[in-house]
């Protein structure tokens, strides 16, 4: 099981490589032995936090601490439809969910299934990721679900954070979500969009401390006409809790 990188002062290259083993999504993965920290320049969510647009590989000097408290995820998707012909509307579950977490948000009569990976490069497993030493989560907590469900754009969607292991309602205050685009950048016509971080405050979420399988859930409505921007689940992403 992959994990969040320790938020300490003694982060070493091996720890970073173990979590972020594919430096730039869309580029051939490197082995753990030949990865330099700056290969991850476009990936860490910590540098400059919410305004961290890293435009060139030489624009910043990466430090080990920039990786502290972060973990990478590879989102998966399951889509469901109201029918098969022209008027059908779809809804999509995207992100990383264990079987138990998915069970909670299951929006169809289809069999439950784990979605995505708690790690990058479609690795890291589907059994969750330890939250021990992450933010103020107590030891033994596991992140079992991190993702969204919704019909995209027009209708409101839901952002879920689901944990197991007696997490408690207030053991994190913010979560930083950083998209990891192929090569760190997208080109929309004449507009260039570099990897960016969205920060969400826990106080904006609704909390349910007792859902299925002794899990706890934070939920946020976004999109549609809510005025709230949600996390993008198209690309792999990195997460940091405070």
């Amino acid at each position: 099981m992959s994990g969040f990188i320790d938020n300490t002062s003694n982060i070493d290259a091996a720890e970073i490589a173990a979590e972020y083993r594919t430096p730039e999504q869309g580029v051939s993965a490197k082995s753990n032995s030949n990865v330099a920290w700056n290969d991850y320049k476009r990936m860490t969510p910590r540098a400059n936090q919410s305004s961290n647009i890293i435009t060139t590989a030489s624009s910043q000097t990466m430090q080990a601490q920039d990786f502290g408290g972060t973990a990478g995820f590879t989102p998966g998707t399951r889509t469901f439809s109201t029918g098969s012909t022209k008027g059908a509307t779809n809804t999509t579950v995207s992100g990383a969910f264990t079987l138990a977490a998915y069970d909670h948000i299951n929006i169809s009569s289809q069999a439950s299934a784990a979605v995505g990976h708690f790690g990058l490069g479609a690795q890291g497993g589907q059994t969750g990721i330890s939250l021990t030493n992450v933010a103020s989560f107590p030891s033994g907590c596991t992140l079992t679900g991190y993702g969204t469900s919704g019909s995209g754009g027009l209708a409101t969607s839901l952002f879920y954070i689901i944990t197991s292991g007696a997490s408690g309602a207030t053991n994190w205050t913010k979560v930083h979500h950083r998209i990891l685009q192929p090569n760190g950048v997208s080109q929309f016509g004449n507009t260039t969009i570099y990897n960016y971080t969205l920060t969400f405050n826990r106080s904006d979420f609704t909390y349910n401390g007792n859902i299925n399988n002794n899990q706890e859930k934070w939920q946020l409505s976004f999109g549609g006409f809510s005025g709230v921007t949600g996390p993008t689940m198209i690309y792999p992403f990195a997460v940091e809790f405070e």
Binding site: R78, G83, K86, T91, L154, A155, G224
Partner: protein, 206 residues
Amino acid sequence: MYVDKVLTEDDIKELYTNGDIKRLYLGSVGFFNKGTYGYPAVSLTPEQIANAPEDAVVEYWYNKLIHYVQTQYAFGMYKDDYIVNIAMGFIENNEWHLCNTLIAPDKDGTRAFMRDPEYHNVRGRTEKELGATISYTYVDVGSPINDTLPAYKNHFGPIEECNVKNYNTLEHIGQVTQNYSTGGQEWDGVKSEYSETYEKYKMEYY
């Protein structure tokens, strides 16, 4: 030169990232708005839909395309390596059912390819290779596409080079009303039960 491709989820993500889905949507929205396309099931008024941010609507189509490539079909037509059309539909009992289309001008800024028999031949071969022996097309009531299809019949019917789709057999079957359901599940922002009416057309292949 035309190339038609059965699109994958990775293709859709790339087309979204490159801005191609937005370009295709912008090339199509005028046809939507002249019809009665109301984004079925979305719990919004027509006024809200009309005022929705462009990127929000593009995301709706992205979401729809992801579903099509996961469970049905989305075909991408490239003219000179530049995507000009995505057709969304499904095949059932050897029938191709065309449900939604996004289309935009080519690199030269024209839609002249829509009158090119080879454009239709290439798409028709894709449908036939997937087993289709007959095709159905669903069109919004009031959409200008209801005028385009008879015009296609008149234009392509006599053209020998248009030899995959038999436009001579194109016929308007009439209006069909379909019922839709979330299967008793609650989907945020989506009606659980609704129905929609469309014009339905039938056509054979050579």
